[in-house]
């Protein structure tokens, strides 16, 4: 464990600092006369937490000092009383602990705070020092933490102001124009510009660079490659590409999944690569770039790709994307170890689609594979084409609209109306029927206009009463009450105050294929085993999660025994539990006992991670029915993965 990613280290440091603050506060409270035994318990727990986290991230000194504090508290904890004369030494030890954390974490330590940025030196001529600027280097990177909810509220308010301005223009604009009042007209224009600028500024606040989530990717890839006996380089380009915060959160898992697929199934073993004339080291590339209002994130590998035979079949059936993103594909097609290429692509697709994006897959047999995720830059503002059906306005993302046509001639194919568009047969649907409007609105006008929606692989014609114009709408969610209603990206408010539902084009594009025969028969699919990680420390949970996920497991986490029990009851997929011992609310042994007594989940494998490794702990664990032990001090990935692999048989 010598090359932890900076993110995990930062988290560990932040957490240790929190614990330290609490230790200090509690010590001071005890010194001030409080005799609450819970405070001593809390002290013990915090010291223990710092120790545990420190030993996992390899901070030996921190771990040793914390261990000393913990030892010193053991007696007082059992007696429920901390003698006053012990408080001062404990406070001193806490200071020492803080220094050790700062040193190990490289954060607030004096030395580390020296800026590393080069000073501006514009040429050979010695410039006189600009004394006014000397002490202000910190200002360059001054950031403010703002609750994301506040930014969203601000965006709502700006959106309202934009609508208000449009209404105002609607009311007075014509009068101003007729009266020839140039000054007033100019003010109206100026108002529009200012508001647009304001709106852009707020939306920019919601975006973050992709690099905020890529930090741990290189390590995950390296670990997995070495576990698979492969040599893989990961290159990341375009990490500064900006994306909406919500989208970033949503695509992290799919990207990890695709990287894992590329390493585990795409890249061949070094020998195999050599035989086919490739360099021994495989390459996986993560590329991101903005193309207009869309961000393309591509995961490209130079591995074996899909077989020529599979590609041929895919082309017969539709496209490779369709074939690989159909649920159950991976086990349905028997093509040996190539089958794995489709694992979970269906879930990647549905994940990306809920964010208003789409997935494309390309592969050249023997040369590699390329998966592209196409995502909107922001979920906040969307360019939509407005249309009306049954008097109700609907918005369709312009990015998915190919063309607007008038349906003069419709044919029928297998009972389904369709039309000829640019040489291909496109299925024609009535918008009202496609979204399931009830009661159905009056019939369409004849001939009706239709919007051709298209993705890379399919197209559909959506007929409506009339097509209005295209515009940018501030997208609002339909709210928690309607979270279960599928088919909408959200809603936008029009100038007249009406709410236009924004349709998810992917749902409409799927319509024809629902009626068409399935691409591949649904076979029973064995998903990756799911492990519940229980620990009260975020850093430990994250660390274990990244190790397990890199090895292909699915991971759920809980902060203490009680939460773990809730998750076990709620999630029948969980196949094993990995738990810490010391936790608030309900500790690891109590959790183990509760699981064993549960008639439904009594047989769930439980592995205990303990920092002590004492015989007494082991005896207690064995008596309660633990399946395995991992001692934190000896903690390493191999041991963890071996234990988990043994217990879930995966």
């Amino acid at each position: 464990m010598n090359e932890l990613d900076p993110e995990t280290l930062a988290i560990a440091r932040e957490e240790a600092t929190e614990c330290l603050e609490r230790i200090e506060r509690n010590l001071l409270a005890l010194e001030g006369g409080s005799d609450d035994p819970d405070l001593i318990d809390a002290l013990f727990r915090d010291a223990h937490s710092v120790k545990g986290a420190a030993s996992m991230v390899g901070w030996t000194q921190v771990s040793l000092i914390a261990h000393g504090i913990e030892d010193g508290l053991e007696g007082p904890r059992d007696e429920g009383r901390l003698p006053k004369e012990q408080i001062d030494p404990l406070l001193k030890a806490t200071d020492e602990l803080r220094r050790a954390v700062d040193k190990a974490g490289g954060g607030a330590g004096e030395e580390a705070a020296v800026p590393l940025s080069p000073t501006v030196d514009s040429g050979a001529d010695a410039q006189p020092a600009r004394s006014t600027e000397t002490p202000t280097h910190k200002d360059e990177q001054r950031h403010m933490r703002v609750d994301s909810g506040k930014v969203d509220r601000m965006l709502d308010a700006v959106g309202e102001a934009v609508l208000h301005r449009r209404r105002l223009e609607h009311i007075v604009g014509e009068r101003v124009l007729i009266a020839g009042d140039d000054a007033a007209e100019e003010e109206l224009d100026q108002g529009e510009r200012l508001l647009d600028e304001l709106q852009d500024a707020v939306i920019e606040m919601r975006t973050l660079p992709l690099s905020t989530v890529t930090a741990h990717f290189p390590r995950a890839v390296r670990d997995l490659a070495s576990a698979e006996g492969k040599e893989v380089d990961l290159t990341i380009s375009g990490a500064d590409t900006q994306l909406d915060r919500v989208i970033l959160e949503g695509i992290t898992d799919p990207i990890v999944h695709l990287l894992r697929n590329a390493v585990a199934h795409g890249i061949e073993s070094p020998d195999e690569r050599e035989q086919s004339g490739k360099p021994r080291r495989g390459t996986v590339e993560l590329r991101a770039e903005q193309r207009g209002g869309t961000v393309a994130i591509q995961i490209v590998d130079d591995g074996r790709g899909v077989s020529a035979e599979l590609l041929e079949r895919a082309n017969e059936l539709g496209s490779l994307t369709d074939m690989l993103t159909t649920a159950g594909f991976s086990t349905a097609v028997e093509v040996g170890d190539l089958a794995g290429r489709g694992v979970g692509l269906d879930s990647v697709k549905s994940h990306v689609e809920t964010l208003g994006g789409s997935v494309e897959v390309r592969s050249e047999p023997g040369r590699g594979m390329e998966v592209s995720l196409l995502l909107p830059v922001t979920l906040a503002l969307l360019k939509v084409l407005l249309c009306e059906r049954g008097g109700q306005p609907f918005g369709l993302p312009v990015a998915s609209v190919r063309e607007v046509i008038t349906v003069n001639e419709a044919a029928s194919l297998g009972g389904q109306p369709c039309l000829e568009h640019r040489g291909e047969t496109v299925i024609l649907g009535d918008l009202a029927a496609m979204v399931g409007a009830s009661p159905p609105p009056p019939p369409l006008p004849q001939p009706p206009p239709a919007i051709i929606l298209a993705s890379a692989t399919r197209a559909v014609a959506v007929a409506c009463d009339r097509v209005l114009d295209d515009r940018e709408l501030v997208v609002k969610g339909l709210g928690p009450l309607l979270a279960n209603v599928a088919g909408y990206l959200g809603a936008g408010i029009l100038e007249d105050g009406r709410v236009a539902l924004i349709l998810d084009p992917n749902r409409l594009l799927e319509m024809p294929s629902r009626a068409a025969p399935a691409v591949a028969p649904q076979a029973e699919k064995r998903a990756a085993p799911k492990v519940l990680v229980v620990d009260d420390q975020f850093s430990v949970r994250q660390l274990q999660r990244s190790i397990l996920e890199a090895a292909g497991y699915r991971v759920e986490t809980a902060r203490h025994g009680r939460e773990a029990l809730e998750k076990i009851a709620a999630d029948p997929d969980l196949e094993m539990v990995l738990t810490d011992v010391q936790m608030p609310e309900m500790d690891g042994f109590e959790l183990l006992g509760a699981i064993r007594q549960d008639p439904e989940h009594g047989a769930l494998p439980v592995a205990i991670i303990t920092s002590k490794g004492s015989d007494e702990d082991k005896r207690r664990g064995a008596a309660e029915g633990a399946d395995a032990y991992i001692v934190k001090k000896e903690f390493n990935q191999q041991a963890l993965l071996e234990t988990v692999g043994r217990l879930v048989g995966g």
């Binding site: 609002k476 709210g479 009450l481 309607l482 279960n484 209603v485 105050g497």
Partner: protein, 135 residues
Amino acid sequence: MSSMHVRVRAGNEHYALPVGGVREIAKFGQITPVPGAPAAVRGVWNLRGDVMAVLDLATLLGLGGAEPGCIVVVEEGDLHGGLAVESVLDVGGSPEPLEPTDSEYLLGAVLVERTPVGVIDLGAVLSALSTGAAQ
């Protein structure tokens, strides 16, 4: 007299909403239907820039009745939304104890001036969609 309630009329019956959960009362306005949503969902509504779901109280309770005339904006925990009702009658205390009822959306019933009044469980009503009860 005990806790204050807003009494409303829905499906020709009387119901009481705890005052603490009522954010405001508005005239029934233009509502955009959401195709594909459960029957009890009237649609979405724009309240000063906030898009919120509006539920039809009578439909949710399995009643018929006249067209709604009011929207009562209610909240409970993280959830909020509009409840479409025929009209708002008054605000007042309601006597306790409550008689138990078998509706999952009611905390119980009381008699106010010899008229039975169902006391709405806002939490149950607002989470009806997510739990699938109203599907």
